[in-house]
């Protein structure tokens, strides 16, 4: 049976070069970067090198990089850290409705501490309108956070425009680039952001590592108090192998960005182009042009995502779905809902996230495998039944 992994948004494999780079720091080089002896030295030097490589991917200064345990911590640190540090200035933050929960729920936590949160909506393609952000900003606004691109539907947000508006209003702008970094060019100064989150595990790096870039001078209340690691902005013994792995992954992502993006775009475009021909009543979700190269997202009408996932898994294909049943919280996707996709259609959402190990043959295999699965599940579906009886099909 072929193994066709198309769930890179959930997890990327770790590149051999990355594992190799990490290896010494898992065993012989186990020193603590804070230690003053030579063993500590080796660890500190390794962390500093990784910091430069991550800064390189973002076109940033190394000392502006704060290593975290992942994208979620980076987002929490950005949202809570910037808002709490500014709580004497104001108590309002603006986020988009399609943010990852690590931004959205962090904002809800701010509400418990007296903040007001405005969620700016999106159009049917999942795009934020910068003018809506402008309209949402008040004199109390201390943070605007809009993601660089949404992983579920691939839509790339107009962050430069939003950053410009935030800058005009003197409000810090954070962007969650977890899904985007390494796939579209993301110079932090080019964007004009105050803070940018990224994660290692969507970059063919190890899990357990992420980073928040924070512009020099931007005030931030730490989330993890403790030692003076990361310039006092994030305590805790550094995850040296994780950080080293992330550094290597960032280096390779920066080096290969264009090549990777082109290959991925080729595959996702092929699937987006051909799947609707093979499956009637299939909706492409997200933006037709402004989308992440690796993302091909759909909603299959009349059936639910988990069944498709299970059947595809039987055929060696790994994908994900934003359906309620496949989310551990058993709630439908807030992203699809923000795009005004009816809840019952959103239940049939399917996300193919391509990786650098995939090929166009994998697309062929999906095109061959998925339609009969959909057909089979539709034959069981009372919704499809009604649709047919009402003259559809």
């Amino acid at each position: 049976m072929p193994e066709v992994y198309l769930d890179h948004y959930a997890a990327t494999p770790v590149l051999d070069e990355v594992v190799e780079a990490m290896q010494p720091y898992l065993s012989e080089q186990f020193g603590n970067p804070s230690s003053l002896h030579s063993r500590g030295d080796a660890a500190r030097i390794a962390v500093d090198e990784a910091r430069e490589l991550v800064a390189g991917l973002l076109g940033a200064e190394p000392d502006e990089i704060i290593f975290t345990s992942g994208g979620t911590e980076a987002n929490n640190l950005a949202v809570k850290g910037i808002a709490f540090a500014a709580r004497k200035k104001g108590n309002h933050v603006v986020v988009s409705a399609v943010e990852h929960f690590s931004v959205l729920h962090a904002a809800r936590t701010l509400e418990k501490f007296g903040f007001d949160v405005t969620e700016v909506g999106v159009d049917g393609y999942g795009m934020v309108d910068p003018e809506e952000v402008r309209a949402a900003i008040t004199t109390d606004t201390v943070l605007v956070s809009v993601m660089a691109a949404n992983g579920e539907i691939g839509t790339i947000q107009p962050v430069k425009e939003i950053a410009l508006i935030a800058a005009e209003k003197g409000v810090p702008f954070h962007t969650d680039a977890v899904a985007a970094a390494g796939y579209i060019p993301l110079g932090v100064n080019d964007i004009g952001a105050s803070a940018v989150s990224i994660a290692s595990d969507l970059l063919y790096g190890p899990k357990g590592a992420g980073a928040l870039w924070v512009k020099k001078g931007q005030r931030l209340m730490p989330l993890l108090d403790g030692g003076v690691q990361e310039g006092g902005r994030r305590g805790g013994t550094e995850n040296v192998p994780g950080i080293v792995g992330m550094g290597k992954a960032a280096e390779l992502a920066a080096r290969d960005l264009e090549g990777r993006a082109e290959a991925l775009r080729g595959m996702s475009a092929a699937l987006i182009g051909r799947l609707p021909e093979a499956i009637p009543r299939l909706k492409v979700t997200g933006h037709p042009e402004r989308r992440l190269p690796w993302n091909a997202s759909f909603a299959v009408e009349f059936i639910e995502g988990e069944g498709m996932l299970l059947f595809l898994d039987q055929k060696g294909i790994a994908v994900s779905s934003g359906s309620a049943c496949t989310s551990r919280a058993l709630k439908g996707s807030h992203v699809l809902s923000a795009c005004d996709i009816p809840a019952e259609v959103a239940q049939g959402s399917l996300l193919f996230s391509f990786g650098i190990g995939n090929s166009l043959e994998d697309v062929d295999y999906v095109l061959e495998t998925l339609p009969p699965i959909v057909e089979r599940l539709r034959q069981m579906s009372p919704l499809y039944d009604k649709f047919i009886k009402q003259g559809g099909g």
């Binding site: 988990e306 069944g307 299970l310 039987q314 060696g316 359906s323 058993l330 019952e344 239940q347 919704l383």
Partner: protein, 132 residues
């Protein structure tokens, strides 16, 4: 069969090879529960013989693997039972027969027994109406 830890072998078997999928033309009773907005919807059709025994069951289900397996299992459990017996099939019995269901799926996907009961009630109320 590729197994997923959250589902027992029996669940996977019933999901992949569901028994009694389909529709009954001119059913004696129809029961529909759930709602596609929440992610699970089941329609049960029954045929009842002269001795108030369930002769045939068919179902259509929109929902996750568990929902489909539950429907299939309920349909198997119901065939040949008297209406009273079938009415007493509980969610817990279904889950047990399936070798267990994931905790988080116990409530949302385990609607098969309810749909069957609705179909029986539908049959009974139609019959009562005919008698009057």
């Amino acid at each position: 069969m590729v197994k997923i830890a959250q589902y027992s072998d029996i669940v996977m078997d019933h999901f992949m090879n569901p028994r009694n999928v389909g529709e009954i033309e001119n059913p004696d009773g129809v029961g529909e529960v759930g709602n596609p907005v929440c992610g699970d919807m089941m329609t049960f059709y029954i045929k009842v013989d002269d001795e108030d025994r369930i002769e045939d069951v068919k179902f259509k289900t929109f929902g996750c693997g568990a929902a489909i397996a539950v429907s299939s299992m309920v349909s198997e459990m119901a065939v040949g039972k008297t209406l009273d017996e079938a009415m007493s099939i509980t969610r817990d019995q279904v889950a047990q027969q399936l070798g267990g269901l994931p905790k988080n799926k116990m409530h949302c996907s385990n609607l098969g027994a309810d749909a069957l009961q609705k179909a029986i009630e539908d049959y009974r109320s139609k019959k009562a109406a005919t008698k009057e």
